[in-house]
Symmetry: C2
Subunit: 143 residues, 2 copies
DNA sequence: GTATCTGCAAAACATTTGCAATTCT
DNA sequence: AGAATTGCAAATGTTTTGCAGATAC
C-alpha cells in the first residue's frame, strides 16, 4: 500500500516533468504500463484498472494515452494490425513476438544509423523493429 | 492496352502458382499493388479501382487481400496504427516513412539473424522494420 | 472563476460476416 | 450441377467526438 502511494508520487513527478498534469487516473494508467511492461492494449489496461476504480471510463484511457503520446510519455506500437499497443519504455529497443505463447519480448538494438547502406542520406528519427518467431522456452517445449 | 492485357496474363499465372484463382478483380488488385508499389490502404486500392470497375465492392478488396495474405501473395504492414497497408513485395526489406512528404521508401536489410545479441536463442521467422524520419529530398528543400 | 479533466452517449471508421445472386469449371 | 466468387447490408470492434458535470489551480 505504502509502496503504491510512494510510486504514485514518483510517477506524479515524472508526468509533471513531461508536461502532463498527474491526475489519479493518469498515474494509475502510467503505473500499469510501468509495472507490467506487457505492451498492453487499451482494453487490457481498462479491464485491469476498472476493478480498483469502478467508474473509470474507457474514454479516459484513450484520452490519457493520447496525451501521453503527445508528451512523449509512451510509445505506440503496431504489433497487431487491429489494436494499438502502448509501451512506457520510450528508449530505443526492438520487440519480438512469439507466435506460440504470444508473449512480447524486448531486445536491444544498436544506435548506429549507418548499418543500412540505403539510408545513408536519410535522417532517421524513430525506429520500430518487430520480429516474429518462436521464443526459447516454446522452442524447448516443442521438442 | 496490350501491355495491360499481357500484364494481366502474367499476373494470372503468378496467382495460379500461389494457389489463388485469378479472377478479374484479383488480377486488378494485384496489378495495382504491383505497379504502384505504394504500400496502399484498402481504401486507396478501392478508390482507384472503382473508377474503372464501377461495381467493385470494398468487401471484395478486403476478401481478396485476406486471400492474398493467406497464400503469401502480399505482406501486411503496420505503418499507421489504425489502417492496414499491403505490399506485393514479399521479400525481406525495411520501410522508411518520411514524416514530411509521407512517402514510404523501401530499403534493403541484411538476412543474418545474429546481429542482435539478445535474440541468439530465438527462432526468427518474420522481420518488420519501420523507420521514420526525413527523406533526402525533403531534407534538401527544408534548407 | 476559469481551465482542465472525466465519463457517458453517440458518431466515425475499419474490418468481418451472413447471405443471395452470379460466375467459373 | 457444384464449388468458388462477388457484393450488398448488417454486425462487430476500435477509436474519436460532443457535451455536461466534476475537479483542480
Amino acid at each position: 500500500m505504502i509502496k503504491l502511494i510512494e510510486k504514485s508520487f514518483e510517477i506524479g513527478e515524472y508526468l509533471k516533468n513531461k508536461g502532463v498534469r498527474p491526475s489519479e487516473q493518469r498515474i494509475r494508467i502510467f503505473e500499469y504500463l510501468y509495472i507490467n511492461k506487457n505492451h498492453p492494449t487499451v482494453d487490457m489496461i481498462y479491464r485491469e484498472l476498472v476493478q480498483k476504480m469502478p467508474c473509470l471510463s474507457k474514454t479516459t484511457v484513450y484520452n490519457t494515452l493520447n496525451i501521453f503520446l503527445k508528451n512523449n510519455v509512451v510509445r505506440q506500437l503496431a504489433i497487431e494490425e487491429n489494436e494499438a499497443r502502448y509501451d512506457a519504455v520510450i528508449e530505443l529497443h526492438g520487440h519480438f513476438k512469439c507466435e506460440k505463447c504470444e508473449n512480447i519480448y524486448d531486445f536491444d538494438i544498436e544506435k548506429t544509423n549507418n548499418e543500412y547502406e540505403d539510408l545513408k542520406k536519410y535522417e532517421i528519427n524513430e525506429k520500430y523493429i518487430l520480429f516474429k518467431g518462436i521464443c526459447p522456452s516454446c522452442l524447448k517445449s516443442s521438442k
